[in-house]
């Protein structure tokens, strides 16, 4: 379709002249490679961006200065010139002994924060000896069934000094309790403990689907951790509101942005309803985004995220506290983009994705290992992933100036488009009564499924190229890549320790602690103190979750 709109600005007049005089003759000689150019989210990209595309973007209102509202250019006035991002590699597999050794290895290699991956039974609140845990113990992460496992996991790692991020959601309050008790046994003061609990249950119902209880009691458990940490563990982030899994499930960049931030707003609203003070708990809410293949789209997403969050906290909750307005986030490169075919190519993908995270101003970063589409990473693959971050930080020079791509016509137009799309979703979700209401209707779930299907079709039509898969394919390319194998002996080992723990603990004290926890849940009290007491008595994760299941029931996903 030819443009029929009358050019309005001098730049548009100039652009039309360029199109007539320079572009059209060139196109007549050499047509473009394809009719339409799209991002990995299947959004149309224009041939050229000019000041005309950013005429609605006002520098002082929308872009401004780093460390100042609306934080588009970053939350720190010195960017990475003051402090680099935290290199925080997600790790966890097999027994707590094995993961403890990997943690120590990563710390020796210059990593400066830890991030724990738990296995599926732990994520679902089952002990290693549950029949449902067969074949799964230690496979996708480390197996933790009681405080005894947690003591081994952090043996020799001072929790007052090393910040630890824990990827755990449905049973998050129990793992937080275990962590705090281990810290206490090390002699650490809770006032000084920092770190992050993922604890984002909304994205479980939306995308990751590791849930236990129905949505409303699950949200109550999250609010309990907000309240407890605000009062007793003030430097700890009790939640990491996560778009990562939403994206991996197939969302576009704009959907990831919109659903994650709307989840964040939902948590703030629930905290406020429970009587918490916005400026006391919101500064400890952190975020977690994906870094996918489309370089500029990702950078625009992070910049838009900061701008939207600052505005929403100001407008919806009336905050003017800068710690409340500042969105802090962790980034992980896109596991879903990694290929089994020609796996070494993944090193390159990860480097480019990580660079987008850095140019977007991330506070911490995990770079995926090249073998992650095959299995959990080997030591060698994990080391290359860490070195990738160190190369970006120390060699590329991108850290020398703040928000170096700010002002790019394309990036600013894209940042604005991201914000507009997210606000559009907010209006729809608000009209459904908020995120809990939207999830109950299956709205975000369906949007994501549709995007995942559209993307798969675009790949199969060859419109989205995956190097080594639907273009430049070879045969036998995975041979020779060593992979990490977790065998069934891990389960035997874990079940033995659990049996030993059960035989040595005071059974009466465990029963009493579990009864107290049920009572706290029934009476709508904060469940954290009773959970901590149960953990101290060596009640297992499965026993504690089972007590809460008795009170709250379980979640059943509706069909859609």
């Amino acid at each position: 379709m030819p443009e029929t709109k009358e050019p309005s600005s001098p730049v548009e007049v100039e652009k039309e002249r360029w199109e007539n005089e320079t572009l059209d003759p060139a196109l007549a000689k050499h047509p473009e490679r394809k009719k339409s150019f799209q991002t990995v989210s299947l959004k149309e990209v224009d041939r050229l961006y000019t000041p005309a595309d950013t005429e609605h973007v006002d520098f002082s209102r929308d872009i401004a200065f780093p460390g100042e509202f609306p934080y588009t250019r970053g939350i720190h006035p010195t960017g990475y010139r003051g402090k680099l991002w935290t290199m925080r590699q997600f790790a966890g597999f097999s027994t707590p002994e094995e993961t403890n050794a990997r943690f120590k290895y990563l710390l020796e290699q210059g990593q400066n924060g830890l991030s724990v991956a738990y296995d599926l039974p732990t994520l679902m609140g089952y002990d290693a000896d549950s029949t449902l845990s067969e074949g799964e113990v230690g496979k996708c992460g480390v197996a933790v069934s009681s405080l005894a496992d947690m003591e081994v996991l952090f043996d020799g790692i001072p929790l007052e000094k090393v910040t630890v991020s824990q990827t755990i959601n449905a049973p998050a309050s129990v793992l937080l309790a275990m962590y705090l008790v281990v810290a206490e046994k090390q002699g650490a003061n809770w006032d000084k403990i920092s770190g992050t609990l993922q604890n984002d249950i909304l994205k479980e119902y939306i995308a990751q689907k590791e849930w236990i209880y129905p949505i409303k009691p699950a949200m109550k458990l999250v609010v309990d951790t907000f309240e407890f940490c605000t009062n007793h563990v003030p430097r700890y982030n009790p939640i990491s509101v996560s778009g990562y899994h939403i994206r991996e499930a197939g969302a576009t960049a704009a959907q990831e942005l919109a659903f994650t931030l709307r989840d964040g707003i939902e948590y703030v609203a629930w905290g406020v309803d429970a009587g918490l003070e916005v400026d006391r708990f919101v500064p400890r809410i952190s975020f977690f985004f994906n870094a996918h293949n489309d370089f500029f789209e990702e950078i625009a997403k992070y910049r838009a995220a900061r701008r939207i969050w600052a505005r929403e906290m100001k407008e919806r909750f009336g905050s003017s506290n800068e710690r409340t307005l500042q969105l802090r986030f962790h980034t992980q490169t896109a596991g879903v983009s990694l290929t089994v075919q020609q796996p070494l190519n993944n090193i390159v993908r990860v480097a480019i994705q990580a660079l987008a995270g850095v140019l977007g101003g991330t506070q911490s970063l995990h770079t995926d290992a090249y073998d992650e589409a095959l299995a959990l990473p080997t030591d060698r693959a994990a080391l290359i992933a860490l070195r990738t971050q160190q190369i970006i930080a120390e060699e590329t020079g991108v850290v020398n100036t703040i928000d170096p791509l700010g002002g790019s016509y394309y990036l600013e137009a894209l940042t604005q488009k991201m914000e507009d799309e997210a606000l559009d979703y907010f209006r729809k979700i608000d009209a459904m009564g908020g995120m809990v209401g939207a999830i109950e209707r299956g709205f975000p779930q369906r949007e994501i499924q549709d995007s995942a299907y559209q993307y798969q079709k675009a790949v199969e039509r060859g419109e989205q190229v995956i190097v080594g898969v639907n273009k430049y394919a070879m045969t036998d390319e995975t041979s020779g890549v060593p992979i990490l194998v977790i065998d069934e002996s891990v389960r035997t080992h874990q079940v033995e320790r659990l049996e030993q723990t059960r035989s040595q603990r005071d059974a009466g004290a465990v029963a009493k602690a579990l009864d107290r926890l049920k009572l706290a849940a029934q009476n709508n009290e904060n469940t954290m103190p009773a959970t901590i007491d149960a953990v101290r008595a060596y009640a297992s994760l499965g026993e504690i979750c089972s007590a809460l299941r008795d009170v709250y029931g379980i979640y059943e996903e509706p069909a859609f």
Binding site: L120, E204, K209, A249, G250, A452, Y453, Q456
Partner: protein, 134 residues
């Protein structure tokens, strides 16, 4: 040739909740004119075999990314055979190391589709391998 549509049970065993693949496959098979039943998450091999029998399916597509395939897949095959569903194909899709492929096939898995497989290839495989019924 009967006009019966190919019936497929898409199953998600184990504790893993990553259902993007299962849902994309279910939709692609439906778009290809097959009848698809999706089990939902966290089904035991016993539940999957019972659903396969009840729905009288021609094939079971098992989606698994957690590494528990060596435990769960052979059991599903065995339970189907015990129920007399000898012709019911068991297909596996997900993250499965190359080394495990021969053993899974030996244990009765008809085919394993690794990441990067086109949904069209899966449709084609089903059309070519499902035994026609009278």
């Amino acid at each position: 040739m009967s006009n019966r549509k190919i019936r497929v049970l898409v199953a998600k065993p184990g504790l893993d909740g990553h259902d993007r693949g299962a849902k994309v496959i279910a939709r692609a098979l439906r778009d290809a004119g097959m009848e698809v039943i999706y089990t939902g998450l966290r089904q035991t091999p016993e539940m999957i075999a019972a659903a396969a029998l009840q729905e009288d399916v021609d094939a079971v597509g098992v989606s698994i990314l957690s590494g528990a395939h060596n435990t769960l897949c052979p059991r599903i095959v065995q339970l189907l055979r015990e129920k007399g569903m000898d012709d019911c194909l068991v297909l596996v899709g997900g993250i499965v190391p190359q080394e495990d492929l021969p053993k899974l096939k030996q244990q009765g898995v008809a085919e394993v589709f690794l990441p990067g497989t086109s949904t069209e290839d899966i449709v084609k495989f089903l059309r070519e391998n499902v035994k026609p019924r009278d």
